[in-house]
């Protein structure tokens, strides 16, 4: 069954592509910018979905696609003109279709009411135009009929138990041969159904001078005894029934033995003769023994074939698992290359020695291989952007706003793992922009803006990261209100001095919501703080900037991949640790007066007059029992998801490096304060810190007991 599963997978992938085609086409139709090709493409896409769905028995999908297709067929044929209203119906139908595809793929079921409503709308469109019901009516359920039409009713009525005798008179017309049917094959198939005899009537064959080589002059009478039933016999002639005279009669007396002129024994000879006759006009093509091909022609032929191969194989499909394995191996290659180079350096090889130069070249190559392999997983963000028009439509519909969507940079590429997790935060940002940013049409008009607001979503690469901007031309953030709310909820002190930017970014604080009543949309219980957290979980950052009256811009930046990470390598005790660069605000060397004790055994550090908790990481992780003198160490200022800053104290900073992320959970489990592991140039494992957990945990412990948890654990174990 795995072959079928593969095809199923292909089907859903293709459906996604076709849904894009449908949506893009319908939007063009809505804008009045659709030519015949666009309409055809939309029709074909829906038609293909129906065809594939039929094969997998997705009956609801088939039924709906059929109704949709019938309406599109009317558009295609020019019987139905698409204006704004019709386009809306078609777009809604596209949404339902997309949901049905998702449901077939194991997603949530589709609201039957919505489906019915959409079907009704579509039917009504057809009804209005009148006389278009034809395509659908007669075989409205045709898509649901999984019995190939080649089976006729007799067949369904059940075949006869015993053998029946048939007398078949078959007189082909010239058209039968012109369509590449062969009398000979049909006769042979008849005989394959049972036992029988064939008589050929050559009476109509003219003299040679009058003979049209492509004419049809022979007729046959076949007497057949078969248990297969008349339907099976008719089925053989199904393709040719209009290109021949055919009578099929039941013969009452079983008379297999009764030899017709010619008789059994002659059949072979007869067939051979007929073959010679029939094959003549077709001799050139009918792939009889391969004839020696002149070398030149042969060469041309193979070249063509090769070109053809190139044309169809410009992309290949590879299981993700294989790519991941390759990425792992290349990661290994990088590590070993670095290790070798370090060993060579330790061994005292001169920097300009041939070996060292060779290592440089190897390093260059290895990096290139790594980049290339990573690029295999890269995909355009298009697949995420594709879902946006519908989202905008729905949110606009619910909020009663009029919103247009502009997307840019949809071919910007990013690692598949990032793509998969991009969708949710992007969705929330757009919801937020429409719900809170864009004004209602009357307000917009009053403000001298076009009634329709615009959401612009743009993707771009910027300094090794992908940046996605969601901007709206709405009212912008109402800073006094935001400030009041933040103060009211105790998120900031009443007298806090905040810049405009800082005020705007208050909306990312947990517990902040600008609307008193949670609207239906933001109602999924998701605030911007959650958005920010999920973006940060991907090693990303998000911020907002706003201009009152003109609109806001959400900017989110993400790493291009989740397989590698930019980190700062630090030492704590004897261990190297990696701090994700995205969490780091700055590094500093503490002076004696900056650090003060707080409580029993906690410390605070004064950074430009704000006091931050100082966490001795080596202590926190249990590498050391007693804290080091902060003045001897280095402080890395980090910001956690909730915007809280903390100061991490390490022994030293080694430098910045891109590291390959390795799972610690695969063979071990989760470790508090540790996000993952990586392998350093010396082949040793280094842990990548989970800054959020580390700081949150430290804070909690400071409050709870002042006793790091690991100590009690280890002591208990010992």
């Amino acid at each position: 069954m795995s072959a079928m599963d593969d095809i199923r997978q292909t089907f859903f992938e293709e459906c996604a592509e076709q849904m894009t085609e449908v949506e893009t086409g319908l939007l063009a139709m809505e804008a009045g910018a659709a030519d015949a090709d666009t309409v055809n493409a939309v029709f074909r896409a829906v038609h293909s979905i129906k065809g594939g769905a039929g094969a997998f028995n997705f009956t609801e999908l088939v039924a709906f696609a059929h109704v949709f297709e019938t309406t599109l067929d009317a558009v295609r044929a020019g019987r139905l003109t698409v204006g704004a209203e019709q386009a809306a119906v078609l777009l809604r139908a596209a949404d339902v279709l997309a949901d049905l595809v998702a449901a077939a793929h194991g997603g949530a079921g589709v609201d039957a009411e919505r489906r019915e409503a959409s079907s009704g709308e579509l039917a009504k469109l057809l009804g209005e135009e009148g006389g278009v019901a034809d395509a659908g009516e007669g075989d409205g359920m045709e898509g649901l009929d999984f019995t190939p039409v080649a089976v006729s009713f007799e067949d369904l009525a059940g075949g006869p138990a015993g053998a029946q005798d048939f007398r078949i008179v078959f007189r082909p017309h010239a058209g039968l041969y012109a369509k590449a049917n062969e009398a000979l094959r049909l006769i042979r198939e008849c005989l394959a159904l049972g036992e029988g005899s064939v008589a050929c009537d050559t009476g109509a064959v003219p003299t040679l001078d009058a003979l049209d080589p492509e004419g049809a002059y022979l007729s046959w009478t076949i007497v057949l005894s078969t248990t297969a039933g008349e339907a099976a016999v008719r089925e053989i002639f199904e393709f040719v029934e209009l290109d021949c005279d055919l009578t099929i009669e039941t013969v009452s007396a079983p008379s297999t033995a009764e030899a017709q002129p010619g008789g059994d024994a002659d059949i072979a000879a007869l067939l051979a003769r007929m073959q010679a006759e029939i094959a003549q006009p077709a001799a050139e093509m009918d792939a009889t023994p391969p004839q020696p091909v002149p070398p030149e022609a042969e060469r041309r032929k193979t070249t063509r074939r090769a070109e053809d191969g190139v044309a169809t194989a410009s992309s290949i499909r590879v299981e993700l698992e294989r790519v991941d394995r390759l990425i792992d191996l290349v990661g290994e290659l990088v590590i070993h290359q670095v290790m070798l180079a370090q060993r060579a350096a330790q061994a005292g090889l001169a920097a300009r020695s041939e070996v060292a130069v060779g290592f440089d070249e190897l390093e260059q190559l290895t990096r290139e291989i790594q980049d290339s392999v990573m690029a295999i997983r890269a995909q355009p963000v298009k697949s995420v952007f594709q879902k946006l028009p519908r989202l905008v439509r729905e949110v606009a519909g619910v909020t009663g706003k009029s919103v247009g969507l502009v997307t840019e940079g949809e071919y910007t590429e990013v690692d598949k793992t990032v793509i998969e997790r991009l969708s949710d935060p992007l969705t929330h940002m757009i919801r937020n922009a429409i719900d809170h940013g864009i004004e209602t049409p009357d307000r917009r008009i009053a403000a001298g803006k076009p009634a329709e607001g615009t959401i612009r979503v743009a993707a771009m690469h910027r300094s090794g990261r992908i940046v996605i901007e969601v901007s709206d031309d709405g009212a912008g953030i109402d800073r006094p209100v935001v400030r009041d709310i933040a103060v009211g909820k105790g998120l900031i002190p009443a007298g806090a001095q905040l810049s405009d930017d800082e005020t705007d970014n208050l909306i990312f604080l947990p517990g902040f919501s600008t609307k008193e009543a949670v609207s239906e949309l933001s109602g999924r219980g998701v605030g911007m703080d959650v958005v920010k957290r999920s973006i940060q979980a991907l090693g990303g950052r998000v911020s907002i900037s706003s201009q009152p009256g003109k609109g806001s811009v959400f900017t989110m930046s993400l790493p291009l991949t989740l397989a590698v990470l930019d980190g700062m390598v630090v030492t704590a005790g004897d261990s190297a640790l990696v701090v994700p660069i995205t969490a780091i605000v700055e590094t500093l060397k503490p002076r004696r007066g900056d650090v003060s004790s707080f409580g029993r055994d906690n410390a605070l550090i004064n950074v430009r007059d704000s006091f931050l908790p100082l966490i001795d990481v080596a202590c926190e992780l249990g590498y050391r029992a007693t804290p080091t003198d902060p003045v001897l160490g280095v402080v890395v200022l980090v910001e956690s998801d909730n915007g809280q800053r903390s100061a991490l104290l390490f022994d030293a900073i080694q430098g910045q490096r891109q590291v390959v992320i390795k799972s610690l959970e695969a063979n071990y489990g989760r470790v508090p304060g540790v996000a993952a592991a990586t392998i350093m140039g010396d082949g040793r494992v280094a842990l990548i810190l989970d800054v959020d957990m580390l700081t949150a945990q430290s804070r909690f412990e400071q409050i709870a007991s002042g006793q790091p948890a690991f100590n009690s654990f280890v002591q208990a174990a010992e």
């Binding site: 075989d139 045709e142 898509g143 190939p148 012109a178 049917n181 094959r185 198939e189 074939r305 053809d308």
Partner: protein
Amino acid sequence: MKTVLTIDDSRTMREMLRRTLEGAGFAVVQAEDGRHGVEVLEACQPHVIITDVNMPRMDGLEFIETVRGDARRRVVPILVLTTESDAEKKARARAAGATGWIVKPFDPQKLVDAVNRVSL
């Protein structure tokens, strides 16, 4: 081994055809639309062609007409894949010169039977 050229713009359908036909011992050559099919015919001589009707660039009916109009290829049996079971669509396929048709969704055995019927 007999070669079948399948022409369909749907990857799903191409795959299903390929698996079914290869499973039945046919060699399969694929094309994505009528024009591509015509190009492929320059390079290979299939024993049977299976073509979809609705396709971009060149649809199935045009494709059949093109093949039937080419003295070198006109005797190749062509089966039309169609989701339409109504007589009118079949008549159009027939008028264009189709040898026979297969109704989608197809039953694998029926497909192989149909191919055998026109190519044996």
